[in-house]
Symmetry: C2
Subunit: 347 residues, 2 copies
DNA sequence: CGGCATCTATCGAACTTTTGGATAGATAGT
DNA sequence: ACTATCTATCCAAAAGTTCGATAGATGCCG
């Protein structure tokens, strides 16, 4: 078996066609055909179903996918260790996450990370936001680290995937200043009814989901989970008014300031606050937990440990520990010779 | 990077010399030198310190060892998946354990396992009995599965190594029938003093460690942890009489029957009981836990799952779950195309 | 139904890499 | 200083890989 065959295998898997994979690999189609053919011959199984449509993996092909990717992951880890020994870090790191984190949270962190380790190629893979999809991406070896969203009541994980909470985010409502007086009247009563809302970061006003439905919702396309909020609004009221989608935080605050509706956005995104609006806590707050996921074996990848450390620095409150950059596995001077000489076979 | 280089790397690591490794690999010394040289050139680091003595890994060499072995482990997993698709299972499985388990417990299981999967090469690696040593063997990739011993109060494991209790073994004393009457007199009192001893598998007699030291201990060379028992005996009495070492269970019972001393052996080993002896519970029993250890990633190796299932069958009381032989990771028809088309780079 | 477009497989020659024997260099022990 | 035991290098032969050309297979569409 050869690594080149495995690299070709993955490329075909991803591009779904020999010809295109060959193009991307910069080799001829005949070479690629020969390469995959050799691998299949050695394994004694067919890896791809070929046809007019291109190439699609057989059951057996899918069965080995994650193993192949694991091997390539560790090839990368070896390059990273080697570059570490030369006091730099080369290689790549693939981070999978969903749209809002990919667009709002990671860019600044990864840019800083990139500045610190310029020779590392960072790859951000955008996927659906469900934890299951991201966990599968890890299992299949599509990425090294994943950042997913999970609701507060589903934090546990049944298998041995590692996961740490990065932050817990609550959404706030943004309403025009003109509504301040009206809200002032109800805020005290609401606070009393929902005491758990009392926290350091408390806003001057509070509102209930029921009240919120008096306004036209302005959804933020960037970092809220549209369905989550929409579902919650629908629970409070039968029909939800037509929703406007906006891309920029300040734009949506501007719309709110103009009295065009209520913006719902993660608390963090509401700083700095637009002059014409007020920040309003939503009682029975809807919160989501942003968590990092990775396979235990990914901890062996130096760049992954570095990224986790960077995340810990950015989110000091998170449950992340800090990792040693240098081999976390202690290598004792026990010579392999000893282990080997004791070896015997059962035949 | 090429797998052949990695295989050569491991062989040099294990044999401690280029010449011998070349011999074992069946290639010439010059070829091996060139192979390792190429790898070093590509990584840009020196992997071995060479000299009159042979070759010994540098820090960098040791740093990549576990990654290299992981890659080879998964290469093996790929072959196993491929053979599974052909309704057999080829490849190898390396099990590390310590002497008594290697000689007394595993052979029958592994022989049966071997009969079931004749094309699988089983490798039994014998090491020291400490859990730490075996865990390190796993971490460094010297084996796929480890079976270790641990005392009852150290069951927890801090990192994410998987571990399941196979069996909990208590030792019994074997004494000549002539001692029955004498023991009968004290057994009831001892049972009352140590009620936790009352169990289904209870023997007809009980004895304390203090009383045990009246007899010459006959140690069983095969499956007790000599030091463990000796230390316990010494705690009960200042000096322990000279110890006789015996290899066969029935032989040591024979010695006890002849009134030559007391045998101490794991309960399981005392079946069937020799006619001339009695089985005696030791109060404040000394127990050891035999557990299976493996890395989470080893669960991906089909043969490892098969072996765990075989162990579960042999030890139905153990905490082991039963694994699916076929890919434990569900592979959904989500095409990689989708994931890839979303991909973008941060540069 | 048949031509067309779009795949992959195969062939043979050019090219690249790998291999092994011979030899040189390095080093520790005697 | 000699010897034994390592690894590195050189070079020619062997082996493996690559590519363009071409053939074969298959679904699409008029």
């Amino acid at each position: 078996m050869k690594l080149q065959q495995l690299r070709a295998f993955v490329k075909v898997l991803e591009s779904g066609s020999f010809s295109e994979a060959a193009l991307e690999l910069g080799i001829s189609q005949s070479t690629l055909s020969y390469t995959i053919g050799e691998l299949e011959r050695e394994l004694g199984i067919k890896l791809f179903e070929r046809g007019r449509f291109g190439a699609v993996a057989t059951d057996a092909g899918r069965a080995i996918e994650s193993h192949v990717r694991t091997m390539l992951r560790f090839e990368n880890a070896i390059f990273q260790e080697a570059s570490l020994a030369k006091a730099s870090i080369e290689g790549y790191l693939r981070v999978a996450t969903f749209r809002s984190v990919a667009s709002q949270i990671l860019p600044s962190i990864m840019a800083a990370f990139k500045r610190q380790f310029p020779d590392l190629v960072l790859e951000l893979i955008e996927m659906e936001c469900g934890r299951d999809a991201l966990k599968q991406a890890l299992d299949r070896g599509h990425c090294d680290v994943a950042v997913s969203q999970v609701s507060e009541d589903e934090l546990d994980i049944e298998d041995n995937t590692l996961h740490w909470e990065l932050m817990r985010e609550s959404y706030v409502a943004i309403l025009p200043k003109s509504q301040a007086a009206k809200l002032e009247a109800t805020t005290a009563a609401l606070r009393a009814a929902y005491p758990e809302q009392a926290r350091a970061e408390q806003a001057d006003y509070a509102i209930s989901w029921r009240q919120l439905t008096d306004y036209a919702p302005i959804m933020h396309g960037g970092h809220n989970c549209g369905e989550l909020i929409q579902a919650r609004l629908e629970r409070a009221l039968v029909t939800v008014p037509a929703i406007q989608l906006v891309r920029d935080d300040f734009t949506s605050m501007e719309l709110s300031a103009q009295g065009l509706g209520v913006s719902v956005m993660p608390r963090l995104a509401s700083y700095p606050l637009h002059d014409g609006v007020i920040r309003v806590d939503i009682v029975e707050p809807l919160r989501r937990v942003i968590e990092v996921l990775l396979l235990p074996s990914s901890l062996k990848i130096p760049a992954a440990r570095l990224l986790l450390n960077a995340l810990k620095q950015r989110f000091p409150e998170s449950s992340l520990p800090t990792f040693n950059v240098r081999q976390p596995v202690k290598v004792e001077p026990l010579t392999n010779n000893e282990a080997v000489s004791y070896r015997r076979f059962i035949n």
